[in-house]
């Protein structure tokens, strides 16, 4: 297999350790006087977007930033709970850039690019420095220095955190930097604006068409370069831990205009979410992975056991993770824990009214911590109830906010009955294909953060998403964008009366008119739900050839029905959330088809992609490095037509091994 000639990753030569340092020192620069005349458009204000916008503005570029939310501060990076990794080695436990790099590649099941991941690990330390300087209140020890925890089953403590709200604190840090530039007039901020197309002039991306979501007005914006920092597309499944507004539209428009889509089928399903409670469910809530540190996961040994948890005796419980993976037990990586839960529920061992849940039980932890407390306090002859109460107090201190959240959502008290959990779509490793400079296959169009495909391979490790978003925005794009913009200093701002802008706006307008004039019978929401069901059933945690083929047909049918029967209320020239939704659902439908196509092409199981045909006798994922050690980059060629390009992955610094957690 050879890399397609259309995919030049532009990885610098030389040894892995010096690629980035050397490249950074040789990448062309734009002089300050020219920067003032260069305009950069940034879509999305999450970690990647906000950090890129503020940094580029500090450098002197004229920046326009867009977000669909009412404030840049509400981007969904805010919801990340656990933490952010950095190879600081503050704990003196043997961490290093190489170890972080290695763990990330291995965790991604050997489907990520070495050079990008190494660079990510290299800049990870700078991110922490920058955030602390910007006032992010990370957790600290009594000596006043930063605290670390281990996360996602790594052997070192490299995760920095701010209680269970690390994403919030990092985003607010990046947001305040962005607002500082807005105040200084170097960033023009467009809130409640949604990008609805990119504008191509002479085969380069030169601007966007955006809709002002308040007035409905379509706006044309010119930019020498456009950065998509628009997050992931997990909402293609309808139910996910993403925000309601998270969408693929910006990335999808770029894809239709020539940006290749990388590894669209790589989806991360997070094992510890609160299960669906009924058809009304609009989104799923994640419970931090840290809960698996102390909780034990089990289902009844008997199928369709309707007894309440406390009436199922110990020897009739199946602690299936401990049984299947004695070495890692309840702490196996996300993809493995998720699949195991699905396997049990599908086989009829699920619990709760829906039977699509497993127990996460803290009883053993109450006992263990309680006994510890009894010893610590020197209490003799403590009753069992007393031990449990003391144990509960310890657990409350560690996980109180999560337990409260669970109670709030389910109405059940997790201190009394075991929690019920089920996997949910959480993150998409796939995204727009980008080269080492983070540029897509469209010149002048970049993708940062979750919107690109680059660093997590087929599975993302905990606390790595925040790291990647900020790395891309703070420390990568400010350098790499020079490689392109240094050649654009002679390009004067192009008038938005240019025919390409007029044409792009017309296409957007026509589509909006179309959506509003179908006047069918079903709401966009209803189509979204249907799409989600197809995707979850046939392109979710486990996939097979037949299911995927069916899914493609079903999605095509759904698309046809959508475009002839959708009912969009309201008008084009007003605040109209229904229209926004319809626009997004239409794009999700097209993406869904491509995801199934990609999953069908990849005849192996790796990371978050599990093909039932490719598993070991024990039901573990079976990777095919001979046939599939490549990045799938899909080129859009018209309705339901794509061409696959492959980028071969070469591992020069890492020994490929089978992941095993037994």
């Amino acid at each position: 297999m050879a890399t397609s000639p259309k995919l030049d990753a532009k990885i610098p030569d030389g040894p892995l350790e010096s690629k980035w340092t050397k490249y950074r020192s040789t990448v062309p620069l734009v002089n300050p006087a020219n920067k003032r005349n260069i305009e950069v458009i940034i879509i999305g204000t999450g970690l990647a977007g906000a950090s890129a916008a503020s940094t580029l503005a500090e450098l002197g570029y004229k920046v326009k930033a867009f977000c669909f939310q009412d404030s840049a501060r509400r981007a969904h990076s805010i919801a990340a709970q656990g933490g952010i990794n950095a190879a600081k080695n503050y704990q003196n436990d043997g961490d290093s850039v190489y170890r972080l790099f290695y763990d990330t590649i291995k965790g991604g099941d050997y489907r990520a690019r070495e050079a990008n991941v190494y660079r990510l690990a290299e800049v990870s330390g700078n991110i922490i420095d920058q955030c602390v300087a910007a006032g992010v209140p990370f957790a600290r020890e009594y000596g006043g220095l930063l605290s670390n925890r281990s996360f996602g089953g790594t052997q070192v403590q490299r995760t920095f955190y701010a209680a269970g709200q690390t994403g919030q604190q990092l985003l607010l840090g990046a947001y305040s930097g962005l607002q500082r530039q807005v105040g200084a007039g170097t960033v023009e901020m467009y809130t409640r604006h949604e990008m609805l197309d990119i504008v191509m002039i002479d085969d380069k991306c030169r601007g966007i068409i955006a809709r002002n979501l308040v007035t409905g007005e379509l706006e044309r914006h010119f930019g020498h370069a456009v950065l998509l920092c628009t997050g992931g597309y997990g909402n293609v499944f309808y139910l996910s831990t993403n925000a309601m507004g998270s969408n693929v539209t910006a990335a999808w428009k770029a894809h239709r205009k020539g940006a290749f889509f990388g590894n669209p089928c790589f989806t991360q399903i997070h094992p510890t979410c609160i299960p669906v409670s009924g058809d009304h469910q609009s989104k799923l809530t994640l419970m931090s992975e840290s809960l698996r540190n102390d909780g034990r996961i089990w289902v009844p040994k008997k199928q369709n056991d309707n007894r309440p948890a406390d009436q199922i005796p110990e020897d009739e419980r199946d602690y299936y993770l401990e049984r299947r993976y004695p070495a890692f037990g309840n702490l196996v990586p996300r993809d493995i824990a998720s699949r195991a839960a699905k396997e049990r529920c599908d086989a009829g061992y699920g619990v709760g009214t829906s039977k699509m849940a497993v127990y996460l039980d803290y009883y053993a932890a109450y006992e263990r911590y309680g006994k510890g407390e009894v010893n610590k306090r020197g209490i003799h002859n403590a009753s069992h109830d007393q031990i449990l109460e003391l144990g509960k107090a310890v657990v409350k201190e560690k996980y109180g906010n999560l337990f409260d959240m669970y109670k709030q959502i389910t109405g059940e008290d997790p201190y009394v009955v075991p929690m019920r959990i089920y996997p949910a779509v959480h993150y998409t490793m796939g995204g727009l294909w980008v080269d080492y400079n983070l540029m897509t296959t469209v010149p002048g169009l970049y993708a940062l953060g979750e919107a690109n495909f680059s660093d997590h391979g087929a599975n993302r490790l905990g606390a790595s998403a925040l790291m990647q978003g900020l790395a891309d925005g703070y420390f990568v794009i400010p350098y790499t964008i020079g490689a392109y913009l240094a050649n654009e200093i002679r390009t004067k701002a192009i008038s938005t009366d240019h025919p390409a802008f007029v044409q792009a706006e017309k296409e957007v307008k026509d589509r909006i008119t179309k959506l509003l004039t179908i006047k069918g019978t079903k709401s966009p929401e209803a189509y979204h739900k249907e799409l989600g069901k197809i995707m979850w059933d046939k392109c979710g945690m486990a996939r097979n050839e037949q299911g995927l083929k069916e899914a493609i047909q079903e999605i095509r049918a759904l698309k046809k029905e959508f475009w002839s029967n959708v009912k969009v209320m309201g008008d084009a020239d007003e605040f109209n959330p229904e229209l926004d939704k319809a626009n997004r659902v239409a794009d999700f439908i097209e993406l869904g088809e491509l995801m199934c196509l990609d999953a069908l092409d990849r005849n192996e199981s790796c990371g978050g992609h599990f093909r039932e045909e490719y598993q070991t006798e024990e039901g573990e994922a079976k990777r095919d490095d001979e046939g599939y050690m490549y990045v799938s980059a899909w080129e859009y060629q018209g309705e339901s037509a794509w061409e696959l390009h492959r980028e071969e992955l070469n591992y020069e610094n890492i020994k490929i091994a089978q992941r095993s957690y037994k």
Partner: protein
């Protein structure tokens, strides 16, 4: 029909900022107590679409209590009857079958209504732009552990930084004052050594902007802190006042 609750909703409807609004009444049935308050609104909107009426516009995004988008004034209280909970995390089990629920937008001069229950909270962004940051360009930072921060201060700073910018404090305050919001950011940065260099300028500029936006003054009623879904404390307002008075009287300008 998933549940068996029947409800009457009285909802503020307003086409846009230029038109007058009014309360409208809707009957809903089959509501499940496991639904979140916003999911109940999803049901209402589906029902309205079927009837060919315009659905109710409301702000919402993460639906897990952290983005700060959702903002409903429910039965006279921002985010409804529970303490420490955003609208999206309020569930229908907090209501009874047969209840009438009155839902209004945040009401403040500085939060004009865009449509129905959606308001424009851009004033908060402008307050942050005025000084709610530490002026550190990317790349300037020294090693993160070179500045120790006493744990107590770091924790207090974090508690203030937990603000989600939803505006419930403004909605709850009889004066529509933004003191709790503004003070949370000033406190967060004032409690950290990194924030000291600009603390005087920050306090002056942020408060000047807050006044310019048309928020009211503080009467120390404490309604803001009582309704804050993130438990931001009034101590922050006191700290902001100290910062401000020191800044006005202790600087050259």
């Amino acid at each position: 029909m998933e549940g068996n609750m029947n409800l009457t909703l009285q909802v503020w409807r307003q086409k846009n900022s230029r038109t007058e609004g009014r309360m409208e009444s809707y009957k809903l049935s089959g509501i499940s107590e496991d639904m979140s308050f916003l999911e109940m609104f999803d049901v209402l909107n589906e029902q309205l679409i079927v009837e060919g009426k315009e659905p109710v516009a409301f702000d919402h995004d993460c639906r897990e209590g952290i983005c700060g988008a959702c903002s409903m004034y429910i039965n006279g209280r921002p985010h409804g009857p529970l303490q420490g909970v955003t609208t999206c995390q309020l569930h229908m089990r907090s209501f009874k079958d047969g209840d009438t629920i009155v839902v209004e937008p945040w009401r403040a001069q500085a939060f004009p209504v865009i449509k129905d229950l959606v308001t424009d909270r851009g004033s908060f962004d402008r307050i942050i732009s005025a000084g709610g940051f530490i002026s550190v360009n990317t790349g300037n930072a020294q090693d993160a552990n070179s500045i120790p921060v006493p744990k107590e201060n770091a924790d207090a700073s974090f508690m203030a930084a937990a603000c989600i910018g939803c505006g419930a404090c403004v909605a709850a305050c009889k004066n529509a004052s933004a003191m709790l919001f503004t003070s949370a950011k000033i406190s967060q940065l004032a409690l950290l050594p990194q924030g000291q260099a600009e603390s005087a300028a920050r306090a002056k500029k942020m408060i000047a902007q807050m006044d310019e936006e048309g928020f009211g003054a503080c009467t120390n009623t404490g309604a803001c802190a009582a309704e804050c879904p993130k438990g931001i404390s009034m101590e922050n307002i006191a700290r902001m006042n100290r910062e401000y008075f020191a800044a006005e009287m202790g600087t050259k300008e």
